[in-house]
Each structure stands twice: as C-alpha cells, then as structure tokens.
Symmetry: C2
C-alpha cells in the first residue's frame, strides 16, 4: 500500500516525497512506442485495455508513486462536437470556435454516456493497482481548452482567444461557462469511476497578465474545483507560473503544480503552508548529464516544504529522454534523505 | 528635438513617458506591406534606403518617440557562416550548430566590413531624423541566438540547446563566447554608426530556471553590456521575466524591458529605483476593444515609476493589429496625465 501521494496532497507527514512525472506514459518508453506503432493516439485513449497497459508502464518500469490514466485533455471537447486530430505538429481543430453560434452549437455531453472508455480504463486501473499506488484523473482547464478551440490548434501568441476575451468578453465567458460545466462533471465522473486525485491542466494560463488570469481563467478553475469539492484532492497545473502563484492559491486547489521557472522555496514562501506544491524540475534536465540531474533534483527536495511536496517535472517528460535518466529522477526521490 | 527616451533611460525627470513599440516597423502597417510585396524580408534588411524607409514609417504615421532601425537579430550570425532563411513558420537555420567542430567553424566577422548596410541605414536614419527622435540599435543576446542556431529554428521546449548546456557546458560556453564577442562588437559598431540607445533581445531566456539563467545566459549579456559601456544606454529585453528580474537587474542594463506577465509596480518594487523599466502591455490588447486597451495602458502609466519608464508592449506588435489601435496606444502615452 503506497499512499504517499494522497498524504502529501493533504500535507501530512510522509517518510519521503512521492514522485511521478507528467506525461510519464509516453514516447520516451520503448514499451509505449511498441504499442503506438499499432494504434493511433486517439484510438489508444479510447481502447481501455491498451490505455490501462500504457498507464501502468511507468509504474512497472520506473516505480513511480502514482499512476495517471492515459488520455488527452481534448477528449471531452470531442463529445461537445469539436473535431480533434492529433498531428506531429500538435492538436488540430477541424471546426474552430469563433462566433456566438459556434458556441451555442457546442453540446453539453452527458458524461456518464459520453466517456465509457474513461470509466472503463479507470476501473481497470484501480483493480490492477489494488491500492498499491494511487490513481490520478485529469482534465484541461477551460482557458487552455478554449485556446485550442478558438485558435484551431496550438498557438505562439494566443492572439485569437485573447482577441475574443478582450473585445467580446460576454461571448468569451459563454464559451468558458460551457467548458467549465463539462469539465466539472467529467472530473466527478472520473472520481466516481476510480480516480483518487484529480489534476487540472491550465497549461496556457501563464500567457496571461495576472489581472487577465483573474478575469478570464481563474473563475472557471474555481467553479470546477467547487464541483469536485472534497471528493478527491485537487491539483492545479500551470506553465509560466511565477507571477500567478498568489492567484492560483485562491483557486480552491489543494496542490499547486508549478513549472521550473521559479525556485520552489520562493513558491513556498509566497503561497504559505496551507497548500501543497508539486514540481518542479526542468524536463530538459533529463536530457543531459545524470549528475546534474541528480544534484538539481536534490536541490528541489532540500528546498521544498517537508510536508506537502510531490516531486514532479515542471512540464511533461520529453520524448527524447533516456529511460535511465527518467529512472534516475524517480530513484533520486526514493533514496533522498533530508540533510 | 525629442529626447524623452534618452532622458527616461537615464531616469531623469520627463514631462511624460516616451512610447515606442517593439516590431513597430511591421506587417500591421499597409505602407510596410506595400514595400514587402516587392522585396523579401532579408533583402529589406540589407537595402539601406528601404530599411530606413520602413524604420521611419511608424514615426511618421503614428508619432512614436523613438525609431528602431529595421533589421533582424539573425543578421549578425549570417556573417558567422550560418545559413538563415526567414519563413512563414519563423527562422530556419540551414546548418544547425551542434558539434564542437560546428562551433570551431563559426567565423568571427570584422563588424566594420561585414555589415555595411547596417552602418548605412543607421547613418541615413540619423540624418533623416536630425535629432527629432532618438535612434535605437539592437541585437539578439547569445542565449537566444544560440537557441536558433542549435535548435535549427524556433522551438517549443528548447530541448536541443538545453541538452547541450546541461550535458556539455564547455561546448555550450564556447558557442556563447563566440556569439558574445560578435554581438558586443556589433553593438559598438551600431553606436559608432549612429545608434543612440541599444536594446539586447534575450527573447527565450525566460525559458530558464533562475539558476540556469545565471549560469548560461546572464554572463554573456553582462560581457556585451561591459563592451558597450557608457557609449549608449543599454536596454535588456526578456520574454517570461517574472522570476528573473533580480538577475536581469545585475546585467549592467540601464533599462529592463519586461513582458506583460508581471504588473509593472511589482517589477519596480523588486528591482528598485536604480534601473529604468520599459513595457509592458500585452500586445494582444491591441487586437481588442480600444477602451480596454486605453484603460490598461493608463493602469501601466499610473503604476510605473514617474522617473525611468518607457511605455512599450511586452512583446512585438502583432501583424493583425488594427492601425487605429496602435495609434490609440501611442496617443494614450502622449495625452496621459498622472492623477
């Protein structure tokens, strides 16, 4: 029984920090690539047996302390009527959302029926794990999902969604409302299906000025976390966090997952002891010299609060990562002893 | 005679904040697009009469308080032997720099001979401006130039240059040394040719953890600013600044040009009164409602220090910007009166 992650989320005393990695089920693992040769990314997400298999790979191969189910943040918007394709250049949206009628047309899916594969993969994983490691559910936050929908894919400057927010806030808020309702229900469904922790990814919210974050992104994160309530610990991830920490701390999150741009001791000082922290090694450190990787990981573990820290990367693990470096990162957490 | 910019760089008292916009000579102006229809971007950079013409357009059309000469940060690396092409998808490098021998092969150009067009455009602009507005020179910082050279173009995660820095710091530092020497000389040459202020763009340094910024980027910025010395005020621009402000303040810069991710009053509080600030409106605000644009600009002017502030965007003006909004931004500075 390994419940380190659950205890760290509640800021309870733990013998050592739990460790997992964002995108830990991914292309850096040969075992993952072998499965992906036979099936597309979206098919893999929707085939519960295969999705469970790749979700478990990093747990079996590297011994991470938690399993996150294999999926994509754009899965729920497909059920809202969005045409999603995942290409080498990132996600592409076939029918970008721009006008009020585009927004009005978006469906409000019945989560119990729309995502049977999500329910099944979570059920399979809980059975397979049998309490040996906690199971993490996740979804994308409305700002980040909205960015893909409005931009039609990834973006360098997020000009289209910001132009909508800045020129027609009412239209923008109607889109966010719809997304927040679906995502809130979707996370509750994940918890009812077996997820023991949920992480909300607001990957692109770091592109916003703090006052714009508070106006355009934070209210929807807060709504979703209210809907989730105390069913499970809530983790909020942002990329580009330094100026948004205090706002994030008011989101209702139990844990803030921070990127590598800020020293974790500074994040701790700014948000205080009432909220746990997850992070925050630059994933590029896993591409380089293992000694540097180990010493930088130890620096994070030295500087993080002794209660309420989950070791993780500051962003997803990169496909070019040597498996030995991923293992060195996980082992660094397991063998660490505080000076 | 408009020397507001020069006085603001020295933190002298000014009747109002000077204003200009990064990439102010650009595609949002129909007059610029008319010239670009006839000539490629790089040809435009290297044709002094045309480069001077587009440099002056924002000054004549919008009345900005400073002129920056039209060029590209990759121009000096061409003279080092790098094959540069500028595509719709951003810069592409024909011969990416990876190995020690790639680095050894890089030429150290004689700046007096390698950039005659730069000298000529600066001379033309000084004569044309006749002291009515200051002339800004610029270059890319070694980290940012190195990122293009090693990645072979733009990047989502800067994995290649970080992998080099993290796994073979000696190789990385030899590349940075060469770039820093060329850029230092190049900026001095610009000043000797007529530039009255210089701005160093370290656009991608915000991707670095503060300790990595101090190890891999800051030393080269500092070297360049030492070479420039007190020949002209030195502005340092970073995108993704919030956690790096204190480090940037130790670069030798007279002015820190900050992105929109941090409230300017917080930046001021953190770096103190001994350094001027430039910025920091989100350029996407120029795509939206003019009232919001004006009120957000006024908020910056209210919050910025009364001495040592240059109004600017937090990043380059976007091609889709309506000219009327660019004018509204410039006019906001000119008509502002502090409450």
């Amino acid at each position: 029984m390994n419940d380190l992650l659950l205890r760290a989320c509640r800021r309870e005393s733990v013998p050592r920090a739990p460790v997992w990695m964002m995108r830990q089920a991914g292309r850096y693992l040969p075992e993952y690539r072998a499965i992906r040769e036979k099936v597309s990314f979206l098919e893999l997400c929707k085939t519960p047996e295969l999705a469970a298999e790749v979700s478990l790979q990093p747990y079996r191969i590297l011994g991470v302390d938690a399993v996150i189910f294999f999926s994509d943040i754009l899965i729920p918007v497909e059920a809202m009527g969005i045409e999603v394709s995942l290409t080498d250049r990132g996600p592409q949206i076939g029918n970008p959302v721009r006008s009020s009628s585009d927004i009005a047309r978006l469906a409000s899916p019945d989560v119990d029926r729309a995502f049977p594969f999500t329910g099944r993969v979570l059920g399979l994983l809980r059975r397979e794990l049998a309490g040996q490691a906690p199971l993490i559910g996740f979804a994308g936050a409305p700002w980040t999902l909205g960015a893909y929908l409005v931009e039609g894919g990834g973006s360098k400057n997020f000009a289209a969604i910001k132009a909508m927010a800045f020129s027609d806030p009412q239209r923008f808020h109607s889109l966010m409302d719809k997304l927040a309702r679906t995502i809130g229900d979707y996370l509750v469904y994940q918890i009812e299906s077996g997820a023991q922790v949920v992480q909300l990814f607001d990957t692109w919210a770091g592109e916003l000025h703090p006052s714009d974050y508070e106006e355009f992104a934070l209210p929807y994160t807060r709504k979703i976390f209210e809907v989730v309530g105390d069913r499970a610990p809530r983790i909020l991830y942002l990329n580009g966090t330094p100026a948004l920490l205090e706002s994030m701390a008011r989101s209702g999150a139990d844990v803030l997952s921070i990127d590598w741009r800020i020293p974790i001791e500074e994040a701790h000082r700014r948000v205080g002891d009432e909220i746990a922290l997850q992070g925050n090694l630059d994933p590029c450190l896993l591409l380089g010299d293992p000694d540097r990787l180990r010493s930088r990981t130890a620096e994070i573990l030295d500087a993080a609060p002794s209660r309420g820290h989950i070791l993780n990367l500051g962003h997803g693990i990169l496909p070019a990562t040597p498996v030995d470096n991923a293992r060195a990162f996980v082992d660094a957490a397991k063998t660490y002893t505080r000076a």
